[in-house]
Symmetry: C2
DNA sequence: CCGGTTTGTCAACCATCGTTGATATCTGCG
DNA sequence: CGCAGATATCAACGATGGTTGACAAACCGG
């Protein structure tokens, strides 16, 4: 039952392989849907090893969340964030980070982990780059747009947001509107009801 | 074990009470978290009755989704929608509709039901009230903002969006920006940095 | 080569929960 | 009353899936 490439036993390496498999699984199904036995099968080891390597399913998930959190993008210039995250959301099939967030929001175990990661690693740092008294709210709205968009697109697969519909410019402008401290979210009197 | 008010046996009435209890439960926990035994306990009946009244847990959930869908709000004037849904999202503790959407997005069983309801009863009718070639996308974005906001507020309980922080104006303007076909999502200039 | 530690497997446990069939109880009709 | 059907209960099943402990195999220092 050993994987074909019979490397020498290396606990650390298999641990990493388990984590990678877990991230992939958690990105494509909810916490409850993902079974430790599936992850074990992906790696080619026994369930018990998966369990013992991380202590519990919950701890494995926590490790996956931390590992895949896309907060590194925040180090970019503020002006580029909206475009950066827009394309990130559009291509998020490739990146697992946003998916893990989105997939497991409803699991009681995962909720606290995501909440912490979301606030500490994302909203907080993002708000620090914004101006204005409501920087915190704007940063939170930014994340909410990102998550909402990603859910409708990747989880619900709502048609108008799928590839080919080119919703890129719209989501980008929406994200930018959250970041800008004054203009786009304020004072829309000029065009509100007109068509 | 009968409820105190010993009404005469009425299958239809208990069925409604079961559905009401189910809606309340599904609005406050994810599909997997909600146990038929809890719902049964709420109503004061046996699990088997809950099960047999609706055929299965899945069908009970489907009934709850249909019953609680807030699509009725869409009949209002287009100009009032953003304000209407903003306050709806802010007070959604009282209404269970949005919560059920948000709580059970990740459940494989619930997903299809929500997708159908979301598109057929919500995005479709909303898009019909909008103008412009990207009405569908804007309607979808509207829903995504609503769901994203609700998730961060009610599920993740992200602090800047909780009550007392007055995120009402921000979310309202964001929703309005989704609906307006031209101006607010395009670059704007008008600055008013108020608190 | 040998004892201890790490790395891994195997089988079983155990709780949970939706589901089901047998049975009791109530209601209404003839 | 007495029977039929709806209404509701009870106990148990069956599958699932995380968890656990006993044990085997590889690695490593001496």
């Amino acid at each position: 039952m050993r994987p074909e490439n019979s490397e020498k036993r290396s606990g650390d390496a298999t641990r990493r392989r388990i984590l990678a498999a877990a991230i992939a699984r958690f990105a494509h199904a909810s916490y409850e849907e993902v079974k430790l036995r599936d992850i074990a099968a992906d790696v080619g080891v026994d369930v018990a090893l998966v369990h013992r390597s991380f202590g519990s399913k919950e701890q494995l998930f926590a490790a996956a969340v931390v590992e895949a959190c896309p907060s590194a993008l925040l180090s970019q210039d503020r002006g580029r964030l909206s475009g950066l995250f827009a394309s990130f959301a559009l291509e998020s099939q490739q990146h697992d980070g946003l998916h893990i967030f989105v997939r497991s929001l409803t699991s009681p175990l995962a909720r606290d982990l995501i909440r912490a990661c979301c606030y500490r690693d994302f909203i907080g740092p993002l708000a620090a780059k914004l101006d204005g008294p409501d920087a915190q709210q704007r940063a939170a709205l930014f994340v909410s747009c990102l998550i909402g968009f990603s859910i409708l697109r990747e989880v619900l697969r709502v048609e108008p947001l799928l590839a080919g519909q080119d919703s890129g410019p719209l989501i980008e402008r929406l994200l930018a509107a959250c970041l800008d401290d004054a203009a786009p979210l304020a004072a829309d009197q000029n065009a509100s009801q007109s068509s």
